[in-house]
């Protein structure tokens, strides 16, 4: 027998290939994680410098520049009382970063991931934020913060907040009694600890009132109807389109300003284009695309809307009536409201804003609008609703500042 040996190692995909692939794959998959870890390591630890806000007891955190108006009145009031505070924001363009004062310092702390890293290691006596769901989502309670407060930034009920919005705050600066009612009910239901619920009000109303005061005198020939719909499927624009404006404009003497929600341009560009095209030559019709609606609202004698948040601002700040499309509210599954078994405040009180209309009233909408302009609900009626629903109208900043000082002082005594 001859052994003709062919010494071939038949499994000769080299270990080298394996190693290279392993390294490549590892690199590829962990690059992101590594990057963040590195960033956290360098920035997270490094950037919470111990002396960042060492002597400051009160810290505000803002998610975006739109909330500056919520915090500013409080900060201003604190400054006037000689109390120092700090302002953290996740928005590089936050106007709060430009404010300068000896008693005030501010810092941009990066995107949401970075924010949570920063906030979770924060050291302070008191931290207030407009962001809900503390200790539920990314932002956890820091061990070194004694008191967390949520500042409510809308007059609305808590139904439309996402789940567990307030559960792990120590206090909530409420804008109206309906919020206190809801939160207490949830506390009971969930057996969570009783929070300090403060009758504060809406601080940004302070700012807006100032702005309104500063507005130049408006000159107009005709009464003005401001149409300010939401952008969703059930909105006036989507449901009725140009038919609505045809009817609104016929046989009437008022001007119409359409102020679409910015999202409408993104979601329904054709609809907007169609409207723009159709009323190009209609002198009584104009579209307002300015960032701030203050001017249009000041001009308007009546607002037509479909349960957008802006109706409350309009009614409370200007004491002018609202013509409201009757809508059933979205499904509240997954929101706080799903656990509350009564009608939410918005639905309950919307009738007091002016008048409700539905689909059948479209042909007649011009007459309804005209009659509301001619016979407005008395501003006292609206003011009554306002005073029932909003604490400390026009001076909420001052109140909030005092409440904060109280809280901090109580902590000191402990």
């Amino acid at each position: 027998m001859t052994y003709i040996l062919l010494y071939i190692d038949p499994a000769s995909t080299s270990a080298l290939l394996y190693i290279i692939i392993a390294i490549a794959a590892t690199l590829f998959f962990s690059l992101k994680g590594f990057f963040y870890r590195l960033k956290n390591l360098l920035l997270g630890k490094g950037f919470i410098q111990k002396n960042d806000f060492e002597d400051i007891d009160i810290i505000f955190y803002s998610e975006g520049k739109q909330y500056w108006r919520v915090f500013w009145p409080v900060i201003k009031a604190l400054e006037q009382k000689g109390v120092a505070c700090a302002y953290l924001t996740s928005d590089n363009e936050d106007p709060g970063l430009k404010h300068n004062s000896e008693l005030y310092s501010s810092k941009y702390i990066g995107n949401l991931t970075m924010t949570s890293v920063y906030l979770n290691k924060l050291k302070a006596k008191f931290v207030a934020m407009t962001t809900p769901q503390l200790d539920v989502m990314m932002i956890r309670r820091s061990k070194n913060v004694q008191h967390y407060a949520h500042i409510v930034h809308a007059p609305i009920d808590i139904f439309t907040y996402r789940k567990f919005a307030f559960d792990y705050f120590d206090s909530v600066f409420c804008s109206g009694p309906h919020q206190i009612e809801g939160i207490r009910k949830l506390e009971e239901k969930r057996n969570t600890h009783k929070k300090l619920l403060l009758k504060t009000g809406l601080t940004y109303f302070d700012v807006m009132l100032e702005e309104i005061k500063k507005l130049p005198k408006i000159e107009k020939n005709n009464p003005v109807v401001l149409v300010a719909p939401t952008w969703k499927e059930y909105s006036i624009l989507n449901r009725f389109g140009t038919r609505f404006f045809d009817n609104l404009l016929k046989n009437s003497n008022y001007d119409v300003i359409l102020r679409p929600h910015p999202q409408t341009y993104v979601s329904f560009p054709k609809l907007i284009a169609e409207i723009e095209k159709k009323y190009k030559d209609e002198k009584r019709f104009s579209i307002d695309t300015k960032p701030s609606g203050t001017e249009s609202m000041a001009k308007a004698d009546l607002m037509i809307s479909d349960l957008s948040g802006v109706i409350w601002d309009f009614a409370f700040l200007y004491s002018k009536p609202v013509l409201l499309l009757k809508t059933d509210f979205d499904n509240i599954e997954g929101f706080e409201g799903s656990e509350l078994d009564y009608e939410m405040w918005e639905m309950r009180e919307r009738y007091r804003l002016g008048q409700i209309f539905d689909e059948n009233d479209i042909e007649n909408i011009n007459n309804i609008a005209q009659s509301l302009i001619n016979n407005p609900k008395t501003s006292t009626q609206l003011e009554k609703l306002r005073d029932e629903s909003i604490f400390n109208f026009g001076k909420a900043g001052e109140v909030a500042a005092n409440q904060i000082i109280d809280i901090v002082n109580n902590i000191k005594e402990k």
Binding site: L17, K163, G334
Partner: protein
């Protein structure tokens, strides 16, 4: 564990004291342990109920969250809900806790009962031996099955009031896990655990009495009424059953002379009746049973997975290496039982209005019947009730196979229904095609091109073609495969496209894992077979792991799809492709033989030290020993190839030559040293062994030649430890420099075979375990015939033959001095193969063909000499050390000699075989000798060779020569013997072919020349370290067995053979000190 064992042991022995029966003791043991643990279970149940309350409370909230949110947000919310309800997610493990508590006792029982000798050969009920698996149904053990049934009943009741099916699933998984775990364990142990489970069931009455309360028995209908309403069913069933059973009995009777036919038929009818009753009961309760089945609603994923598992295990079992594997078959059976149960529940829920569904359901019934027949055959075959021993020697495994395969078909048709009715969400995306193409390019590229290139590159010298040839030949396969796979994809419907893509990704991953991460060790590839082909019989656990890996990969990839992680897959595939291409090409280019073999190097000088140098103008002497060449064959060779007489011009052939001994070790001393060194004389020196003796003799020979001023070129001098570093040229068995001639001499594997084998090898490694045995096909591969003989498989390993073919290539005429060339060739030695000019090996051609080939091959060398004008000035002594006296050859070994008076051999202590070995070859050509080859009847010995080589004509004047022949037998380690046993010491005169001329030698030996030699060379200086190393190196390289070893080690360590030799040398030198 010891306290547990103590408890178990005490209870068990106590129980045995009371009962005196080991089986009952095991039951009592189980009962006691259950009782002992009862309080704990009550506590667990309490806490569980509490937990359930919390769960019930949380359920609506969690359901709401699950409806609305997904991903991270959902996770955070659920976590918060748990937090608000003080619920710990570890509590989901409580049902397992009750199992965990029992485990220590189980392990203790295991350890105790396992080693408990007394259980051996103890029978209990139907169990023959408590220390072995019960094997009641052949390869199926019945006790674990009973245990599983009990577990399933418990699971049914335990979870009956539970809306959440997760716990039921958990219990099912545990039940199946225990079935697998305990299946082949001793019956005693399984009995313990079975009873444990039985008591767990009873425990439900204490801990969860509510589960039994709900269903109160409906009032039973009276028997008569039942029969009345079901009369039709009863009749039909009875008729069908009795017809089947009676016909089987008649079938049996036909083959058995109608023995007991009446009894058999009566019994058949009786059995039909009994079966009818059973079927009736099933029929009446059909609704209840189907309700239970209808309730079974598991995830389709699990259903499909179990079908996959059964298919996988079924084929793995069938394709298992060499024999089908029963364990795998059993696994297939288990998974198909699971799948089929669910398939049945699908059947119940199927909308029968749909035509396709209807069709499928009808086909399903056929499978079901086939399955039932197999089950029936299995039972009747295995229980071997004589009467129902219907079929020809039943093989249980055959029936189990039938059960499994029909079950698979049944379940697959259910799967069809599911696919037909369910709208599977398919994520359409354009990346499917890209991913698919990247994967198939990788797969077919790896198999046909890149892996073959890699293999080629690791052993380039084994191939007689450049690397590019692999690409040229296999690219066709590569492209065809790509086209076919792409076509399949293009014509597939969208649903299938998605599945195809995932499937190809799985195959890619499996291939990658098998090739790179966990290749199975098959040893080296020799010719077309793996050295360790028995490794194909992989352990079952690897099969299980691979099957699970398949599933895991499936879920992983389908998940990747939905999670928009396709980019990762695409990137990974691109990297994989780039790496495999670049690795293959890089390795191939690195061999330096990518486009063509490095023939340029041929023109380069190979080391002078490995060449045979002739002098053009001075004398050359060739001393060529052709081991075991049968001298008398020359007669026939010259007749067959008369042209040789012309080529071997100037030669004298001495047919009348006797061999100085019968074996190499006996002849070589005298061949090299002359008649002073016959074995009888060497035996006088009992201090030195044969190797030592041979060493001094060769030294003396070497010095004589050097003293005469010759350049000395030599192969290994057999049995001698002479220092080869002193040679002017040393010719090893094979030098790697000589690989340069591989192409020219067509040394290397057959080309076509290699193109195919290379990709088949790659395919083998890339394929999943279950297909490997099929691809390997016992070395026949995918489409090779069994006739390996027809394949070319000449490699440089056949070096003894190739060395002869190489002689003209390594010869030159550059020697400035006289040249002496000593060659000891094994080419003519058994086994008799040869390598033809095409490089083909002809195996086992027999001694004559082989010897003829040797002469003809040498003729080519002679032609070279003539062509280079070194023939005239060259003396050639061509001899063999002995003739053929043993060897195996399939054909007729014709070694007939013209011997007279052969009957005398017995008186000389010779047998026929040994006798034939004494007729060696001797061919001599003196300087300047001319004319055709002549036959010379002068009486000669092969021990004359060295004298002839070194002296001038006429060599032997004396007329009445009397030459010795000392017969010795070969033994193991003959070189280490100090003395060889002489079988016969002979003297021969005049004519070797007449045994009458042979007499016993009775000469007394007084002095032996060997002593003088030892004296002469005792003062030889010590070797330097470098010389020693060189010496060792040559020794290793000359020894085939050592070289095999070295190559294996080099293989294992992944280093070159050369450096392995260096390591070995260093190792030996270190350890000698």
């Amino acid at each position: 564990m010891s306290p547990f064992i103590f408890i178990i042991k005490s209870i068990f022995l106590f129980a045995y004291d009371i009962t005196g029966n080991y089986g009952i003791s095991i039951i009592l043991l189980s009962f006691s342990i259950s009782l002992l643990l009862l309080p704990i279970f009550i506590l667990i149940e309490k806490s569980k109920k509490k937990d359930n309350e919390i769960k019930q409370k949380m359920k609506p909230l969690i359901d709401e969250i699950k409806r609305v949110y997904k991903g991270q947000e959902r996770y955070y919310y659920i976590k918060t809900i748990h937090r608000q309800h003080n619920y710990n997610s570890y509590k989901a493990l409580v049902p397992i806790l009750s199992l965990l508590i029992q485990i220590p006792f189980f392990i203790a029982a295991y350890q105790f009962l396992e080693n408990f000798e007394a259980l051996k050969n103890v029978s209990f009920l139907f169990i023959k031996d408590l220390s072995l698996p019960d094997s009641v149904l052949g390869s199926i053990n019945i006790l674990p099955v009973i245990m599983t049934i009990i577990n399933l009943i418990t699971a049914y009741f335990y979870t009956k009031n539970n809306d959440d099916t997760s716990e039921l699933k958990q219990m099912l998984v545990i039940a199946i896990a225990f079935l697998i775990l305990l299946f082949n364990l001793p019956a005693g142990l399984v009995l313990y655990w079975t009873m444990n489970n039985f008591f767990s069931f009873l425990r439900l009455f204490i801990t969860n009495p509510e589960v039994f309360e709900k269903e109160k028995q409906e009032s039973r209908k009276p028997l008569k009424e039942t029969i009345k309403t079901n009369l039709k069913f009863i009749k039909q069933t009875f008729y069908i059953l009795s017809i089947i059973l009676i016909s089987t009995q008649i079938y049996w009777a036909v083959n058995h002379d109608f023995k007991d036919i009446i009894t058999r038929i009566l019994l058949s009818i009786l059995l039909s009746f009994a079966l009818t009753v059973i079927f009736l009961i099933l029929h009446i309760n059909q609704n209840k049973i189907s309700n239970i089945f209808r309730k079974i609603n598991i995830d389709y994923k699990i259903f499909f997975s179990s079908i996959f598992l059964s298919v996988y295990f079924y084929f793995a079992s069938i394709l298992y290496y060499e024999n089908e594997n029963n364990q795998l078959l059993l696994l297939a059976l288990l998974s198909i039982i699971f799948a089929q149960t669910y398939a049945y529940s699908i059947k119940l829920r199927t909308n029968k209005g749909n035509t396709i569904n209807k069709l499928i359901l009808t086909i399903q019934n056929i499978f079901l019947v086939a399955q039932f027949l197999n089950i029936a055959a299995l039972i009747s075959g295995e229980i071997k009730i004589n009467i129902f021993n219907i079929l020809i020697t039943p093989s249980s495994d055959l029936y189990i196979k039938g059960i499994v395969s029909s079950g698979i078909m049944y379940s697959l048709s259910s799967a069809l229904i599911v696919l037909n009715n369910k709208k599977i969400q398919i994520i359409k995306n354009k990346h499917n095609l890209l991913i698919y193409i990247l994967a198939i390019v990788y797969l077919s590229g790896f198999v046909f091109l890149w892996n073959p290139l890699n293999i080629y590159s690791s052993f380039p010298d084994n191939f007689i073609f450049p690397a590019i040839e692999i690409l040229k030949h296999n690219i066709y396969n590569f492209i065809i495969t790509l086209l076919i796979l792409s076509l399949i994809y293009i014509i597939s419907p969208t649903k299938l496209k998605y599945i195809l893509t995932v499937f190809i990704l799985i195959i890619t991953s499996i291939a990658f894992i098998h090739n790179t991460i966990l290749p199975i060790n098959m040893g080296s590839l020799q010719e077309n077979k793996y050295l360790l082909s028995s490794n194909l019989a992989q352990p079952i656990i690897r099969y299980i792991a691979e099957a699970l890996l398949f599933l895991l990969l499936y879920f992983l990839f389908s998940n990747f799809y939905t999670n928009k992680k396709r980019n990762i897959i695409i990137t990974a595939l691109i990297i994989l492709n780039i790496l495999s291409v670049s690795e293959g090409i890089y390795a191939a280019i690195n061999t330096g033989r990518f486009f063509k073999l490095n023939n340029d190097k041929l023109s380069e000088e190979i080391k002078q030290s490995n060449k045979i140098s002739f002098s053009k103008d001075k004398e050359n002497i060739i001393f060529f020993i052709s081991d075991m060449f049968h001298g008398w064959y020359m007669n026939k060779i010259l007749k067959d190839n008369p042209e040789l007489k012309e080529i071997f011009s100037g030669f004298n052939w001495y047919p009348n030559t006797c061999s100085v001994s019968s074996i190499t070790c006996g002849s070589m001393p005298a061949i090299i040293g002359g008649f002073n060194y016959t074995i009888d004389k060497l035996n006088k020196d009992t201090i030195h062994n044969m190797e030592d003796k041979m060493t001094v003799i060769t030294k003396d020979f070497f010095h004589k030649i050097k003293d005469k001023g010759y350049r000395f070129t030599s192969t290994n001098m057999i049995y001698s430890k002479i220092n080869k570093y002193k040679f002017d040229s040393y010719l090893p068995a094979w030098d790697k420099d000589w690989n340069k001639f591989n192409y020219e001499l067509r040394i290397g594997e057959s080309t076509e075979m290699f193109y195919t084998l290379l990709w088949e090898n790659a395919l083998f490694y890339s394929s999943p375990l279950l297909l490997k045995p099929k691809i390997y096909n016992k070395g026949k591969w995918i489409n090779h015939s069994d006739d390996t003989k027809s394949l070319r498989k000449n490699t440089n390993a056949a070096k003894r033959y190739n060395f002869l073919r190489l002689l003209p290539k390594i010869s030159d005429t550059k020697s400035k001095t006289k040249s002496f060339i000593y060659i000891h060739s094994m080419a003519s030695h058994h086994p008799w193969d040869y390598v033809d000019d095409e490089g083909l090996i002809h195996e086992d051609v027999g001694p004559y063909e082989n010897n003829k080939w040797v002469i003809n091959t040498l003729a080519k060398w002679i032609k070279w000499m003539k062509k280079n004008n070194v023939y005239n000035n060259t003396k050639i002594v061509l001899l063999s050390d002995h003739g053929i006296h043993w060897g195996h050859f399939k054909g007729k070994m014709d070694t007939t000699l013209p011997i007279k008076n052969i009957q005398r051999m017995k008186s000389l202590n010779l047998n026929e075989g040994t006798l034939k070995g004494l007729f060696p070859l001797l061919l001599v050509k003196d300087f300047n000798s001319k004319g055709k080859l002549k036959q010379n009847m002068k009486f000669m010995s092969n021990a004359d060779a060295s004298y002839i080589a070194l002296n001038k004509e006429p060599f032997f004047k004396e007329k009445n020569r009397s030459l010795p022949s000392v017969i010795v037998y070969w033994k193991r380690k003959i070189g280490k013997k100090h003395k060889l046993n002489i079988v016969s010491n002979l003297k021969i005169k005049e004519n070797v072919y007449d045994i009458n001329n042979w007499t016993k030698n009775t000469d007394n030996i007084t002095d032996s020349a060997i002593f003088h030699l030892f004296k002469k060379y005792s003062t030889e200086p010590e070797l330097t370290l470098e010389q020693k190393k060189l010496e060792l190196r040559y020794q290793i390289m000359a020894n085939e067995k050592w070289m095999e070893n070295v190559k294996h080690q080099a293989d294992e360590k992944g280093i070159s053979v050369d450096s392995m030799i260096t390591r070995t040398v260093n190792y030996i030198i270190r350890n000698k000190k």
